[in-house]
């Protein structure tokens, strides 16, 4: 019984190795903020959503499958949360049934506990059936339709009744009937608990006496303590197998609930995120994934969801049309929104590839083989080697894991040395990456580097600049434009050190749109 809400054809793999750049992505794209919004303090929700976001899909069809499931969730959010609650309760209640942790556990205890767990599960399966019966008509997506049909088919009334009957039979017993065969050295082996035959109580039995088969009986002496213990060991041996099967079965049934919980967790996380963004009045949309290799990137109203969640106001959105571009170079004013734009692009790419909605009015991009970030790390206290050294080591790690059609987001990289040297390093790296068909986004204030790329007049490159109005006021909007030599750091300096112009907040003034 597979839930199959995350993939059409397979179960969501929670053991999958996370990409080596996991930590860098978490840090550079501020995924922690996003995950808190999706999962709150719930460790389970956090874990599943984190895994979903970091192990993106590589296939358009798979993404659309999740999108349609998510659309169903947004439409029927109450029912979805109810089903999630049933799964959550079952897995939580199981932990309350005492028994596993007793070091002197016996087969009797294992048997007894398994029956209790299975009784709990039967109750919850009935509950689940109830929800399905009532609401299945309201769902439209392929994933939910298949799930509900499967549940209806597998959890029929007859089936649920037969499970109940089996459990009842195991709970009551008149003596223990154990089958055995002769093994090595004629020792009894293959012990197995058997169902006792029904006592024949018909007319014939009454006339001819009991129908008991020929048997020999051994009674222990009352003071035969070893004998008592051996007899109980013998009984243990008889029950061992069925206790094992029952315990495994209870694991499997619980496994189903865990799986149900896992496969719903990502969607519940998305529901939570949607709730928060809606409350802030921020738009979301379902993105359009484009085929891998065909360079596409266009968006309207893209904003950094992590930043939006942190602030109390709306943030400045950006638009871009960069179809057919392998290289996006972003230059311009300090604190002018360059990094924010870079982060919002990375975040949207990740969200798109895990099948979620994105923080934009519209968003389309080609599928990426892997998303890597190379951000300058100013406050890295764990750093032992020199700064440039550290940056190059990180770059080398990224290169270890790169393949064509991956994307790398650089944020002021290789600026830890003088501009000429840094530019040359950057040029060589970027040149090689483009040659290997890697998509490159580069935020830089190194004019020499940016300008030299601009001079090449590459058709597959686009140059953006943090906008500023005449008079030095930043808009936090990034627009297309040639790299300019002057940095706007002077402005910042003026503001902070000399208290010149009034500081515009990082959030957008209402005039930007």
């Amino acid at each position: 019984m597979k839930v199959l809400l995350m993939h059409r054809d397979r179960t969501f793999d929670t053991q999958r190795k996370m990409p080596p750049n996991e930590l860098a992505l978490m840090q550079d794209l501020e995924l922690g903020v996003l995950l808190s919004a999706m999962a709150g303090e719930d460790k389970f929700l956090q874990e599943v959503t984190r895994r979903a976001i970091l192990s993106g899909l590589a296939d358009i069809d798979e993404i659309l499958y999740r999108q349609s499931t998510l659309k169903d969730c947004l439409k029927n959010h109450r029912v979805v949360r109810d089903i999630y609650k049933v799964a959550e309760e079952t897995t939580a209640s199981e932990k309350g049934i005492w028994g596993w942790y007793n070091p002197y556990k016996s087969t009797d205890q294992i048997l007894g506990r398994s029956v209790k767990v299975l009784q709990l599960c039967v109750g919850k399966l009935n509950e689940l059936r109830g929800i399905v019966d009532q609401h299945s008509g309201e769902f439209e997506s392929e994933g939910f339709k298949a799930l509900f049909a499967m549940l209806k088919g597998e959890l029929s009334d007859e089936y649920l009744a037969s499970v109940q009957a089996l459990l009842n039979g195991l709970e009551s017993s008149d003596g223990t009937l154990i089958k055995a065969e002769l093994g090595q050295g004629n020792k009894g082996t293959n012990y197995a608990l058997c169902r006792q035959p029904e006592k024949k109580q018909g007319r014939m039995a009454r006339v001819f006496g009991t129908n008991e088969p020929r048997q020999f009986t051994y009674s222990l002496d009352t003071n035969d303590n070893t004998g008592t213990e051996m007899l109980s060991k013998l009984r243990d041996r008889g029950i061992n197998e069925v206790a094992n099967t029952l315990a495994q079965s209870s694991d499997h049934v619980l496994g189903f609930f865990t799986s149900l919980r896992t496969e719903l967790a990502f969607y519940v996380g998305c529901l939570n995120l949607q709730d928060l963004l809606t409350r802030k009045g921020e738009p979301t949309c379902f993105p359009t994934p484009r085929a891998r290799g065909g360079r596409a990137l266009s968006f309207e109203g893209l904003y950094d969801a992590a930043l939006a969640l942190k602030l109390n106001q709306r943030v400045v959105p950006n638009d871009l049309n960069a179809e057919g571009k392998d290289l996006v170079v972003i230059t311009g004013a300090n604190r002018g929104g360059k990094s924010t734009l870079l982060r919002s692009i990375g975040l949207a790419q990740l969200m798109m590839q895990c099948g979620a909605f994105v923080a934009a009015k519209s968003f389309a991009s080609d599928l990426s083989e892997g998303l890597f970030t190379h951000f300058k790390r100013e406050e890295d206290t764990t750093m032992r080697s020199g700064k440039l050294d550290e940056e190059l080591r990180r770059m080398s790690e990224i290169v270890d894991n790169l393949s064509s059609d991956s994307a790398v987001l650089f944020n002021e990289s290789f600026a830890a040395t003088n501009e000429r040297e840094g530019s040359e390093i950057s040029r060589q790296i970027v040149g090689a990456l483009l040659e290997r068909r890697v998509k490159v986004f580069f935020v830089t204030h190194q004019y020499e580097f940016a300008h030299s790329l601009y001079e090449r007049k590459m058709a597959n490159a686009v140059f953006l600049r943090a906008e500023r109005k005449t008079g030095g006021e930043r808009t936090f909007k990034v627009v297309e434009g040639e790299p300019l030599e002057t940095s706007y750091g002077e402005d910042l300096y003026d503001r902070i050190f000399l208290g010149a112009a009034p500081a515009p907040a990082p959030a957008a003034p209402a005039t930007t749109r």
Partner: protein
């Protein structure tokens, strides 16, 4: 040709093992080598086989043929399963002998014979399929086939199967109620386990945890089990009478040639096991060309004891080459301490000794000499109860060796006279070497004296150091004239103490 032994083709090839390991075993670490080879096979008592070197090239080739054949997986597997079944036979038989309760005793006896029939039948089938060509294995196969087809064995096998089949029909039920249990025939009652599994089949996913409890079980049965078994015997009287009669008919079922083969063939298997482990780490083994020519040579040889030790430490051993041509007889090994000189000498002697046993030897290829005896002179801890001085002790021991040494002997000398004054050491060393040269024996002479490396019949070899770091030895021993200055110069450079550097540094 009649089958004599898997170790010796003919009775006259047989060599008697020494009662105890000779002195050179310790010096050459051959005691470790043998222990490494036979580890885990204590039940076979293989050690004597390693204390009886062969005396003819023919006897060595007999073993090479068999050893090579056993390298093929098919032949190897055939012997392996045979050995396992024979080992079970011995174990079960031993258990049966110790038990008193008749039903149980006979049960174990049946297990023992079953294992034996498996061993014989399996080997006859598997070995035939492997198609052995070696003299040893093919004539053994002939013998085995004859035995397996004999009425003695076929009737044993048929009866064993019959008794087992009967016993397997004796299924029964135990009904446990409070402090008593009843035994009755099994009448097809349904098993819960199957029902549970069927019911929850649809939830099944992947591997499941094993919840079975480890219930301590001993080979011997307790009185309840004996009582239950007694009831089973009463429920199925004919079957148990059949078992009784069967046991009485076959008290001694084990055939002696088969049993001897089982032990002796382990000599080969044990060797090949260790060889395979070392080959997996990239080391080479070969079947040496053994002859009476003293033009010996070897490529990529190594000290087997050291290789095993390093393998366990996940490290690797350095291999070395050597050759003697024309009238060259003596390798004089020179070079820095801890540079692998002694190891090189050991490897040389080990190769020869292992070759005389018919074993594969360390190295990619080797041409080795069929020696009569091996002598070693290694440094000893000074014995204070002995009044002789160290120099005197050295001389007494080397004299005893040279007395017994023949032109066909191998002599390994390690740092002789190292504690005496230099002129003495040079003088005595030359004297000893002269004697060995006269004898025309093969010799490795490890020394710190450059002067000894340029005599007739001798070849100078050097342990080498890394060019970029003179403190690190490569453990490579190469054919090169001794030159004590090169190493000193390198060390001097490293510490800025060379002639030029000292001049520069002191310049005021």
């Amino acid at each position: 040709m009649t089958f004599h032994s898997i170790l010796f083709e003919r009775p006259e090839d047989r060599t008697e093992p020494w009662p105890a390991a000779p002195d050179f075993f310790i010096d050459l670490n051959l005691d470790q080598v043998v222990d490494d080879i036979i580890a885990g096979r204590e039940e076979y008592g293989l050690k004597p086989f390693f204390l009886a070197p062969l005396k003819s090239v023919g006897a060595i080739e007999y073993r090479h043929e068999i050893m090579r054949e056993l390298e093929a997986a098919r032949t190897r597997d055939a012997i392996q399963s045979f050995a396992q079944a024979m080992s079970r036979t011995r174990r079960y038989w031993g258990i049966s002998a110790k038990i008193i309760d008749k039903n149980v005793k006979q049960g174990w006896f049946l297990n023992a014979v079953e294992a034996y029939c498996d061993a014989v039948g399996g080997l006859a089938r598997d070995l035939e399929a492997a198609g052995p060509k070696s003299r040893g294995l093919s004539s053994f196969l002939e013998y085995l086939k004859k035995y397996a087809e004999s009425s003695e064995f076929t009737s044993l096998s048929a009866e064993t199967k019959k008794v087992r089949a009967d016993l397997s029909t004796a299924k029964y039920c135990l009904l446990i109620r409070g402090n008593q249990f009843s035994v009755r025939k099994y009448e097809g009652e349904a098993e819960y386990s199957a029902e549970v599994e069927r019911t929850f089949q649809k939830f099944k996913q992947g591997a499941a945890k094993d919840y079975r409890i480890e219930i301590p079980d001993f080979l011997d049965v307790n009185h309840l089990e004996e009582a239950a078994l007694d009831f089973v015997a009463k429920l199925y009287p004919e079957i148990f009478q059949g078992l009784d009669a069967y046991c009485a008919r076959h008290p001694n079922f084990l055939e002696s040639t088969i049993a001897t083969f089982d032990r002796e063939v382990q000599f080969y298997v044990a060797n090949l096991d260790l060889v395979a482990q070392l080959r997996a780490t990239g080391l080479q083994f070969c079947y040496p060309e053994v002859s009476e020519s003293k033009e010996v040579s070897s490529r990529e040889s190594f000290d087997l004891a050291l290789a095993v030790k390093l393998m366990r430490e996940k490290s690797y051993v350095v291999t070395n080459d050597f050759y003697l041509k024309g009238d060259e007889r003596i390798l004089v090994v020179n070079g820095p301490n801890q540079g692998g000189k002694t190891t090189f000498a050991r490897a040389f002697a080990q190769q020869h000794y292992l070759a005389s046993l018919g074993c594969p030897v360390p190295g990619r290829e080797a041409r080795l000499f069929l020696f009569d005896r091996i002598f070693t002179h290694f440094e000893r801890e000074e014995d204070i109860s002995d009044l002789r001085s160290k120099l005197e002790d050295d001389l007494v021991r080397i004299h005893a060796i040279l007395d017994k040494c023949t032109p066909n002997s191998i002599v390994i000398v390690n740092e002789l006279f190292s504690s005496s004054a230099l002129p003495d050491a040079v003088f005595l060393g030359k004297k000893v070497l002269d004697r060995i040269i006269q004898l025309d024996s093969l010799c490795i002479y490890v020394t710190f004296l450059d002067e000894l490396s340029s005599l007739e019949k001798t070849v100078s070899m050097l342990s080498t150091i890394r060019a970029d770091n003179p403190e690190v030895c490569t453990f490579k021993i190469v054919r090169r004239p001794a030159d004590g200055l090169a190493y000193a110069q390198a060390i001097a450079n490293k510490y800025q103490l060379s002639y030029e550097r000292i001049k520069e540094r002191i310049r005021s």
